[in-house]
């Protein structure tokens, strides 16, 4: 099966532009990039349909391979609607972000940045029975375990 080079180039341009926008910090640009990629992917599916043919409305005396492949069309049709639904959701996200933070950009994760800058340390929970000298020093542990008022202590 051969494909139309023009369609492939258009598809690549749509996806490249979409990716460029997707890597932005502005949420609006991200959503627009999402739309461009959506269009590009739909075009990719269309390319997979092969040569254009007659619109797939059954007519007498037309051989099956004379129609444009209907399968990719069914896929694209649902994809178009889903893209709309998801971009509406992304728009709602932009709006929320604007209402809450007065910003429509993707901000860095605060905890990750703090970790990277060494502001968060990871404590190790090490038992306290360690006074050196023996493999398993006793005193602190015993002090803890023999605390009265627990089942193991005195009455």
């Amino acid at each position: 099966m051969t494909v139309s080079l023009v369609l492939v180039i258009v598809m690549a341009a749509l996806i490249a532009s979409g990716v460029y926008l997707l890597l932005e910090r502005s949420l609006t640009r991200v959503v627009l990039g999402f739309l461009l990629i959506g269009n590009g992917v739909n075009l990719l599916i269309l390319i997979m349909a092969g040569r254009p043919g007659i619109a797939p409305i059954v007519a007498d005396g037309v051989a099956p391979d004379e129609y444009t492949d209907p399968l990719p069309q069914a896929l694209i049709l649902t994809a178009i609607v889903i893209t709309f639904a998801v971009s509406a959701f992304l728009l709602a996200l932009i709006y929320r972000s604007w209402r809450l933070a007065n910003a429509d950009d993707v901000s860095d994760d605060v905890d990750d940045v703090a970790l990277r800058k060494g502001a968060i340390s990871m404590p190790v929970e090490e038992p306290t029975f360690d006074d050196g000298g023996t493999d398993f020093p006793v005193e602190p542990e015993e002090k803890v375990i023999a605390t009265p008022s627990t089942g193991e202590g005195s009455q």
């Binding site: 749509l14 059954v58 959701f89 709006y95 929320r96 604007w98 910003a103 990277r116 360690d130 398993f136």
Partner: protein
Amino acid sequence: MLAVLTVFALAAMVLPALARVIGTRVFWVAALVSLGAFAHTLLQAPAVLSAEAVRLPFERFTYIAQLQFTLDVRMDTLSWVLALIITGIGSLVLFYCGAYFRDDERGLGRFAAVLLAFAGAMYGLVVADDVYLLFVFWEATSVFSYLLIGHYTHRKASRGAALQALITTTLGGLVMLVGLVLLAVQANSSSLSVILATTPATTLTTVSVYLVLVGALSKSAIVPLHFWLPGAMAAPTPVSAYLHAAAMVKAGIYLLARLAPAFVEVPGWREVLVALGLATMLLGGWVALKQTDLKLLLAYGTVSQLGFLTVVAGFGTRETALGALALLLAHALFKSTLFLVVGIIDHEAGTRDLRKLSGLGRRSPVLAVVAVLVLASMAGLPPLFGFVAKETVLHGLLAAASGANSAVVGDNGQLWGVIATVGVVVGSTLTVAYSIRFFWGAFARKAGVDDVTALATVSRRFLFAPTVLAVTSLALGPLASFVNTGLAGYPALFPSDGGKPYELALWHGLEPELGLSLITIVVGAALFVLREQFARLQARMSTGVNASNAYWDTVGAVDRLAVRVTSLTQRGSLSFYLGVILVVFVGVMTAGLVVGDSWPAELRAWDQPAQLAIGAVMIGAAVAATQAQKRFAALVTVGVTGFGMSALFALHGAPDLAITQILVEIVTLIAFVLVLRRLPAKLGDRHGSTHKLLRAVIAVGVGVVMALVAIIAAGSRIAEPISLAWPELAFVQGHGRNIVNVALVDLRGWDTLGELAVVIAAATGVASLLFLRGRGDTPARLGRSVIKSRIASRLERVRDLGAEGERRNAWILAGPTLDPRHRSILLEVVVRLTFHAVIVISLFLLFAGHNLPGGGFVGGLVAGLALVGRYLAGGRYELGVALPVGAGAVLGAGLIIAAGTAVVPLFFGAPPLTSTYFEAEVWLLGEIEFVTSTIFDIGVYLIVVGLVLDVLRSLGAEVDRQGGDDQAPPALAARAKAQREAAG
């Protein structure tokens, strides 16, 4: 046996609830369960002792027959002895717990349940005849042990020790799992008995056996993984008595004993086990003599004894096998008793420190006698069972050392027999010394220490379990030959050296081993007498090397490494993550495309020349979108690509797509405008575009890769498209001429149903992001009559006042709710005139779509656009009037109809989504055809309408309301009133 396991599991589940009602008596119930299992195990004796493999109890439960997944359990001598120890001591310890804990103990029910569940898991471990089942029980004991060690959840030491034990034993368990899988794959069976019987002596076998040994040795606290066991003394003492003396730590020994008959010939088996075992035995004994906490003294004693057991179980001759099993039994009896004794002392006196305990022997002679009996067994004094076991062990080792059974143990056997004998004698000397130290520490009257006054009255209930165990230790000595009958099945698995089988007996005559025993006792006693000098020697020899510190250093290092790796890879920036993913995508795909070789033979430049022009516009628009600085400019350029798509679809012979794309593009533009009007016009005013070049490189890379993928994927196609059959299917089965529509509602109806769910989820998501309180399904609307009367009154006022501007109110119902400055008479007129026509068109598209371009999606979008018109012309109240039901109701109705179409055929015995065809002559209309899949399309129609409605109501009306810049009716009324007053 499977029934026993089930009872354990069920009882454990009931215990927590029961504990709330009956308090500590819950342990009696648990003890009864374990006692029942003990009785059941005893009843298996005739079958087990028959020594005929076919008569051994075996049960199988097939739970996934197709995959040959079965639960196999089997009970031979080894399993039987272990099961008796586990269930017997288990019931005694559980009974003891009833006196040890108080009713108000924290987490009492959980503790009882976990302890009983542990007993069940341990029982399962020793009867499992499938390596995977064995592994599951193995890990279960680790997890229960974790919960039991960490019983005092509020103590840091307790939590740390629990985690340490868990990590150490599960790490070993995982290594073991690899070994077990290798063995199972090699034997082509996961049955333990099959593996043991058939595995050939290959390098792979050697590797897998060593992997399994790692698990066994970590579980049994053998050097260098011994450190978790003393740490585990943070557990309540009954747990130590059961898990860390009788049961769990014996799991490793059990596995050694299980594997030894088959794998003793594996290169290095005997050498490694004897060396590690002796190191553990000597280290444990040495450190035990330093301890001042009685429990830690016992813990190190246990480490030492586990090393001893490893030496003997790993040595692998008939005599040592008999000795190993006898020693295992003896150790379980005496060591758990000693822990129980310590528990009583701790419970009554409030300390376990032997420097603070004094004069307890006189206060509680019964307890002292119990302790003396089991200590004598531990030290190997006649006539206790410990003596019998140790004599047998020494006999077996001496037989190897003297070369008496060199035919069985091979050339190296004699050397390692000597090493083992010497090591065991030294280790036993230490055992004697710390046994005496324990008695002295717990019961003796010490100079300079006040007598402990507690312990005058220890209840019989509390003393019961240790007494029974001590008496058993005592009784089994004289009954040695009787015990021998029970144990004899296991050593028979090893090759005979031809002589008469050695048997357990209290008195074998003046044999060399008796002399060795005497030496250990004398030297051990001397060590105790010279304890102060010995302590000084120990202090001098202290190296400061500490396995537990090494463990914690490792844990700390792993944590620090994790932080470093996290801070390197988790930058916190989504763009960074996305960039990494895309770079990997480009890299991997490029590699794949280079390796693969399916470039198509020919490539068309274009299908129609028009593609060239449209494509150029689209590329220009897409690139412009990336450079746009204003929101609306960027949106419009993106929209251009969408309309270009529509044109390409039309050229490609896809009318449905072309129509849908145009409609969606319009709705999308409007939805964007609705939101973007609230945002500043300029894009990226806070963060400008950064890393432009890098992003461009990634973007171009992705684009090029996608282009190559498209060309090569299309070129690789060799099969006929499946859709060649669709025209006929659509016409004959689907009764429709529009193949795409029939595919959506019939041929591929499942896909569409799934897609509808996605649409509904997205629509609901939009609503939930905008409506903070409730879904807003009672939309902003005025009652029709209210509005009509208001309009009427206003028209009257207009007549009265002659105010020219107010006359245009009548075109749409809620028009007056808008600020006059925001109103467009042209829009109102157009909407007024076209709305109903558009709705009719949408219905036509819906019903005609089966045979002509159209269908539910297109129809729904057209109807949605009609609603958009109403909203734009009349604001949110107009939208409420136009469709006075909630978007959720529309979406839900659509989904019910679509799903119903899928389900209803099931009632007629047909597959889901089967369509039926009706034809009828109707008066006036002529012949009417109806396909049931049209009903499905009605569902699609409703869902699309609901989606658009939800978008309008959320991004339009709700944003208006939150923005507060439309005219609410009260304000309108106030304005009218003001006008009236001004006029009047």
